[in-house]
């Protein structure tokens, strides 16, 4: 059974903190993605990666960075968390256009 695992279900961080969201997939997929989900806006792509050490900006990359040192792991980094980054974050990997999502991390920045 395919699996995408995000390290935390819920996180509360303070404004200005550096935040790491970790994601691991066990399907040997080359493509991995980070989205955020906000009411009325659907899923918006932050960054994606199509290979180890490769990354591409999505639609809303500002305030975020990513790291892909190993094929199975894709990390999202909030360099200095702000309250407008409070959201549900979803990691996914994909094969032939079909994405497999993790369970999500609900991040609250206070």
């Amino acid at each position: 059974d395919v699996k995408v695992t995000q390290s935390s279900r819920y996180l509360v961080k303070r404004t200005g903190e550096k935040v790491f969201l970790e994601c691991v997939q066990d399907m040997d997929h080359e493509n991995m993605f980070w989205y955020r989900q906000d009411p009325g806006l659907g899923l918006r792509l932050i960054y994606f990666s199509y290979d180890v050490k490769m990354k591409e900006k999505g639609d809303i990359p500002e305030g975020y960075s990513v790291s892909r040192e190993k094929k199975e792991r894709f990390s999202l980094i909030l360099e200095s968390a702000s309250t407008n980054q409070t959201s549900m974050y979803l990691c996914a990997s994909s094969l032939q256009g079909q994405a497999f999502f993790g369970q999500g991390t609900r991040l609250t920045v206070v």
Binding site: V4, R9, N31, F33, Y35, G40, L41, G42, L43, R44, L45, F48, Y50, E56, G58, L90, A92, S94, Q96, G97, Q98, A99, F100, F101, G102, Q103, G104, R106
Partner: protein, 114 residues
Amino acid sequence: DQQVKQNSPSLSVQEGRISILNCDYTNSMFDYFLWYKKYPAEGPTFLISISSIKDKNEDGRFTVFLNKSAKHLSLHIVPSQPGDSAVYFCAASDPGTGGFKTIFGAGTRLFVKA
């Protein structure tokens, strides 16, 4: 500007009846469309897809229809069940990125009443 639009934020349907969820897109180059289902506190899960060379794809109670000339697709659920209550996202694979990027609509929350 949203390239994939789901104009109905919510839909309420009686158990046993048909649920029809609609989706419009603006980019005529999109060639692969997907529907995902999301329960609260879980990630979206793939439901059904359709290639632009087809106009219909069926999987059990779920059927997706594609009208390329109208840039419109719809998901039909027959018969609807209470367990179908969830948020449904329409999505399109962006060929400009080799299919890497998937563009999602805002979602439609379906309520199926028992």
